[in-house]
Amino acid sequence: MLLVAGAMVSVSGSAAAHEPIFGLGPHTIYQGGVGLEVEAARESAGEERIRALHTEILYGVTPDLSITASVPLLRKEEGKRSRAGLGDTVFRAKWRFWRRDALGTQKQLALVAGVKLPTGDNAGPVRLGSGSVDFLAVFTGGYESRRWYSFGDVGIRINTEANGIRRGNRFFADVAGGIRPWLTGYWEPDLVLLVEANLEHERRTRVKGALQEDTGGTVVAFSPGLLLSYRNVMFKAGVQFPVLQRLNGDQERRGPFYAVAVEWHL
């Protein structure tokens, strides 16, 4: 599947507490809170490789409404050609519309809406952006307790046309489970181990209305990860392994997707 700069990483990542690394969780940040996340990611498919450095800022409008801006710096390689620069910027709003709190546990449901703006250069043989304004809608939920975590989300990214090219819409679904192997106190480091299953289905791209046969397909991935935090700082790391790839036509198979991040709540 031909990688588009920021295609996957623009969906993953959410600077808000213990959440999936590759999916989107329901957490928000406290009212008036500001969070900052820096994530380094690497993905590849055949001779195509993308290295990304995302800077994401999060703000809590209310306890149940957070807004996020994510700005990527990319280095993209296609065979012997390469290019580096700004990718497409993503803005998201998350509304946690339902929550149930009990002693040491929290259940949450949230809706996420986002827009990807074409701030990455779309010209030339190696494109850093799609050139299009795309939209994101996600439904997500989660359960967390002192010991166990579980998350699930389903969503869609709707891609629009730019310069005669319209990339196929992407549907995705993720489930995640986690465990805190050692229950530690408030003033102690905290480790959570996560495992995710991620599904992506992308429809074929159209160029001037004509379907491109060697585009689109379905990928299922298995993704272990960890979240290590101390009070207001969290280190995240995960690897996404594609375990099933049903790609249309003749496409390079996707390799592992690596991500490490540091999240800081000011």
């Binding site: 406290y30 009212q31 008036g32 040491g104 967390e144 905290d190």
Partner: protein, 106 residues
């Protein structure tokens, strides 16, 4: 008899003395039961907001008990309404609030 009298006098003296000594600041405060706190990273916002409140000298978070001990400066008071609002703004649910040292309701 003399020994017993002496013991009584000593006990009275200690009681008077304890009342006269300044009470450590840690004994002034409240305990808030908070639901929804599963981790320290999540609860950091609550710590930050509580520390900003006037009259608050410090706090301690017990994740297992779901309690936050709020230590007040001597003579300071904090309204229950203000405390509950801070917990809500932090993204959690406040339950009962009791003075430090008060027994826990069964």
């Amino acid at each position: 008899m003399k020994a017993r009298t002496l013991l009584v006098v000593l006990a009275l003296a200690c009681g008077l003395l304890a009342g006269a000594l300044p009470v450590p600041a840690e004994q002034y405060g409240l305990v808030i039961r908070v639901d929804g706190m599963a981790c320290s990273f999540c609860a950091y916002g609550l710590e930050k907001k509580l520390k900003r409140m006037e009259g608050v000298e410090g706090l301690d978070v017990d994740l297992e008990a779901g309690e936050v001990k709020v230590f007040l400066k001597p003579g300071a008071t904090v309204s229950e309404e203000a405390l509950r609002r801070v917990v809500v703004e932090a993204g959690f649910s406040p339950r009962e609030i009791r003075p430090l040292g008060a027994p826990v309701k069964p």
